[in-house]
Symmetry: C2
Subunit: 144 residues, 2 copies
């Protein structure tokens, strides 16, 4: 769980702590399906996935990868401070991929009395292929 | 799983099919923790949650709620067509809440040869309290 972090301690250019998850396993898709209730067989049934054009079989739920990015964020910034989070889906994730989430602070500003930091994040696999890029905003407490 | 949907069949003002999930249960947080590897006890241990200020105990992973919104989207728009998805976290979700996701098309345009639709979405509980608002963009195939 993220410790409190203060606006004064975050600077443009700072790197977010990396999060590495993997290798991802098919079983994780099954667990995610059960947790989310999203039982699209594209994620759990290789035959089905191949029949709809995925030549290597199942792919991860896009939301699972987005969730991994979210986990990287909330491992650094307390969840209560996270205000906005958006992603662009850039590629599909397969079983065996190891996802590394990195990010850095691109802006900080005081807006309507809130101490806002803006960070850009990316999730890549072990080959450097980008799966998700994104951006988040958090409102941090001040030491003042 | 979403059937293919064509640009010509989507119009500004169209409603997205509603998705209702709930009542959410504490066990779902445990399942989500196992699936995501996000074991922050704020989501699974009432005593811990109360000690950090949640007077009613555990709250849902924000990413679980974001995932439910994503599930509403990919139940309507095939995952491969979904390009961007962003949310603003507006409130905390507790066990017992039933989440309803609604959305509507706010824009459509051809951009760089892609048929883009833009939709705004919201997840509310049974009292109408907003948990997440968001926006997504999808690139749809054309019948032409």
């Amino acid at each position: 769980m993220a410790q409190e972090i203060y606006y004064e301690d975050v600077n443009v250019g700072d790197a977010m702590p990396e999060l590495v998850k993997g290798p991802l396993q098919k079983l994780q898709h099954v667990m995610y399906a059960g947790a989310s209730g999203d039982f699209n067989p594209l994620h759990t049934d290789d035959d089905f996935a191949k029949a709809v054009g995925m030549k290597d079989g199942v792919i991860a739920h896009g939301m699972l990868i987005m969730g991994i990015v979210g986990q990287a964020i909330t491992g650094w910034i307390p969840r209560k401070d996270l205000k906005k989070f958006g992603v662009r889906f850039a590629g599909m994730t397969k079983p065996g991929n190891t996802i590394t989430v990195t990010g850095s602070v691109t802006d900080k500003r005081v807006e309507d009395g809130n101490n806002i930091i803006v960070c850009e994040v990316a999730a890549k696999d072990e080959n450097g292929d980008v799966k998700v890029t994104g951006k988040f905003e958090a409102a941090l407490p001040s030491k003042a």
